[in-house]
């Protein structure tokens, strides 16, 4: 699950803090001993990050240009662009995986996220039991996607699942194998993912909506705008920081989707995803390091787009300060 720091500057609609922001001390002002302590406080986390995240990322890029069976290091040899040419031309699950990732993204963006927004908008009103509804929609967010896969497996089971029983097809030859049939299993998995994603988005928007100054809405109402107009013309634009977070989260969740397809069928037969292909080439009996790494680099490059977008938006202001 991604948690993105929601640096929503809802300060645009909330009054500025009364106190001046804490001024940061210069390093020069510190004693020698203090400098050492500070240096250690910085060095340890940075070292861990470097060793376990930054260097492996670079290593992935490096490995994508090699061939290696992953077993003895003397077997490692340089291979140029071979791996990339292979996955782009000959590797059968690659383009289906790209397609599925795109579908995943579009589905989340067009169905799951707006659903979350809708729920947030509806529950932001003073309805009876709004807390209760929020709790219901929120429960799946607390569950791991792997567990969600298991729970929905019971729901989708061909002969015994609730869905086929409700549709009246359970046990007959018309029963759809929701997770097994490659024509429908991607959509079945997406619905299970939406079950969770919508709740997450709902919470984010509920927080965002709380930060919207009611006076704006009152002003719009006075001007004669109805509910929908008020929302789309006034409220939504003001929630810009939240919107940015939601966009980034939706994209990143789509790229990260792995747990649920892996637990359903190992990311095969209609559920191929780039992340699952990387792992198939690493963990399965046929371990092919070079190919797996080139797939990982493709995933990395695609992920960098929303990541850079988010970083620029969040830190852009500070960098300029």
């Amino acid at each position: 699950m991604t948690a993105i720091p929601t640096d929503t500057v809802a300060a645009e609609s909330v009054p500025e803090a009364q106190e001046p922001p804490a001024r940061r001390r210069r390093l020069r002002q510190l004693s020698r001993g203090d400098k050492v302590v500070l240096a250690i406080m910085i060095a340890i986390p940075t070292l861990i990050q470097a060793l376990l995240i930054w260097i492996p990322t670079v290593a992935s890029v490096f490995l994508s240009f090699t061939k290696w069976n992953g077993l003895s290091i003397t077997n490692l040899r340089f291979a140029g662009l071979d791996n990339y040419l292979y996955i782009l031309k000959d590797y059968p699950p690659f383009w289906p995986a790209v397609l599925h990732n795109v579908i995943w993204l579009v589905f989340l963006a067009v169905i799951a996220t707006p659903l979350g927004l809708l729920l947030a908008v509806l529950l932001d009103r003073p309805l009876r039991g709004t807390r209760l509804y929020q709790s219901f929609f929120f429960v799946p967010v607390m569950l791991s996607l792997a567990l969600i896969g298991v729970i929905w497996q019971l729901f989708y089971s061909q002969d015994n699942g609730l869905l086929n029983n409700l549709l009246g097809t359970a046990g007959s030859s018309h029963a759809v194998d929701w997770f097994g049939d490659s024509r429908v299993n991607l959509w079945a998995a997406l619905i299970a993912a939406t079950w969770r994603h919508a709740g997450y988005i709902m919470i984010l928007y509920l927080a965002g909506l709380k930060g919207v100054d009611p006076s704006l809405r009152e002003a719009a109402a006075l001007d004669g705008a109805n509910g929908a107009q008020t929302f789309f013309r006034v409220v939504f634009p003001v929630m810009r920081p939240t919107n940015i977070i939601v966009v980034v989260i939706t994209i990143i969740e789509a790229l990260r989707a792995f747990d649920i397809v892996w637990i359903i069928n190992g990311g095969t037969n209609g559920l191929e995803l780039l992340s699952a292909l990387v792992v198939r080439n690493l963990v399965g009996e046929g371990q092919v390091i070079g190919i797996g790494s080139s797939l990982a680099v493709v995933l990395l490059v695609i992920s960098l787009v929303p990541i850079v977008f988010y970083l620029v938006r969040t830190f852009g202001k500070e960098a300029r300060e």
């Binding site: 607390m142 729970i151 089971s157 892996w262 970083l311």
Partner: protein, 310 residues
């Protein structure tokens, strides 16, 4: 007007009570029956999957074999839970989950708060660059790092008395280390934001007192960061508990898996016994539900931290 709106906004963030008052003053809310109907329908649909799992888990296998799963016949009891617990080895898996979660959360918050402190309270050349890189690290899909980390851990030879695989693979510390690294980025960012907003007077007072950097951090800034730490701790416990990928990759021995990854194996073992599988799934859900009921506010706060600066 400003004062009223201030008050409205502030308390709206807390309860929403005042908003309801405001709405009532403007007349009955147009949340008509259509909205209620929609919400009720959605809520019911939302509860179906979990409800079905719960329902299935309470029925003995013999009954569902006889009457079918979509029926009300037979008894309802918790025998499946008992069986699942015993057969599934859940006690081992939960213990493993604890072993993975507790050190990771503590290490993560400890290291992230140190870094956040250094970055937010002092200005130095690379502070922003490092902060950016920390945040970026958390946003990467973990599969990008999977291969190099797996190979690196495998090639790192350890004596057999330290690790029975002779390498860093199949050890608890491999998963703890990687999870910590992965979560430090996010926590650093959130805590840095939080610490930035702490008032200045405390630093000045500490400086006058002659307190060094460490005392300032440990005795002043950290306690003041309690709300953020609490929210992050709740969030991180859930994240790490739910983590499926790293144990899948690094742990080969079945009895060292945490509960969330173990459910994958159990799914294969109990393929036809849906009742047992449902009970197993419910057992896995219980800790999250407990945390949810007790600490929901913290979890939500963690997700939306930083929602308003100051």
């Amino acid at each position: 007007m400003t004062t009223t709106s201030d008050a409205l906004t502030t308390s709206a963030i807390v309860t929403g009570q005042d908003k309801r008052e405001a709405a009532r003053r403007h007349g009955p809310s147009r949340a008509g029956w259509a909205v209620y109907l929609f919400l009720i329908l959605m809520a019911l649909i939302w509860l179906l999957p979990l409800g079905w799992s719960l329902f299935t888990s309470l029925r003995p296998y013999a009954d569902t074999a006889k009457y079918g799963y979509f029926s009300l016949g037979g008894t309802f009891n918790v025998q499946n839970y008992i069986d699942a617990w015993n057969q599934g080895g859940f006690s081992t898996y939960f213990l493993n989950s604890v072993i993975y979660v507790v050190p990771t959360v503590i290490l993560t918050l400890f290291l992230a708060s140190m870094m956040a402190y250094a970055v937010s309270r002092y200005s130095w050349t690379f502070s922003l660059t490092l902060l950016i890189m920390f945040t970026a690290g958390n946003l990467l899909p973990p599969q990008v790092l999977a291969t190099p980390l797996f190979e690196a851990f495998r090639l790192l030879k350890l004596p057999y008395w330290v690790s029975d695989s002779g390498t860093l693979l199949n050890t608890y510390i491999s998963v703890i280390a990687v999870n910590t690294a992965f979560q430090i980025g996010f926590c650093t960012f959130v805590l840095a934001n939080f610490m930035k907003a702490l008032p200045n007077e405390l630093s000045e007072a500490a400086k006058v007192d002659g307190a060094g950097v460490w005392r300032h951090y440990w005795s002043i800034v950290l306690p003041l960061s309690r709300p953020a730490l609490a929210a992050l701790a709740t969030l991180e416990v859930i994240f790490i508990y739910n983590d499926f990928f790293w144990p899948l990759l690094f742990i080969q021995s079945g009895n060292r898996l945490p509960v969330t990854t173990a459910i994958n194996n159990l799914k294969g073992e109990w393929l036809t016994n849906y009742n047992l599988l449902a009970a197993g799934a419910m057992i896995t859900v219980i800790p999250t539900l407990v945390i949810y009921l007790l600490l929901q506010r913290h979890f939500i706060a963690g997700l939306t931290l930083g929602a308003s600066k100051g």
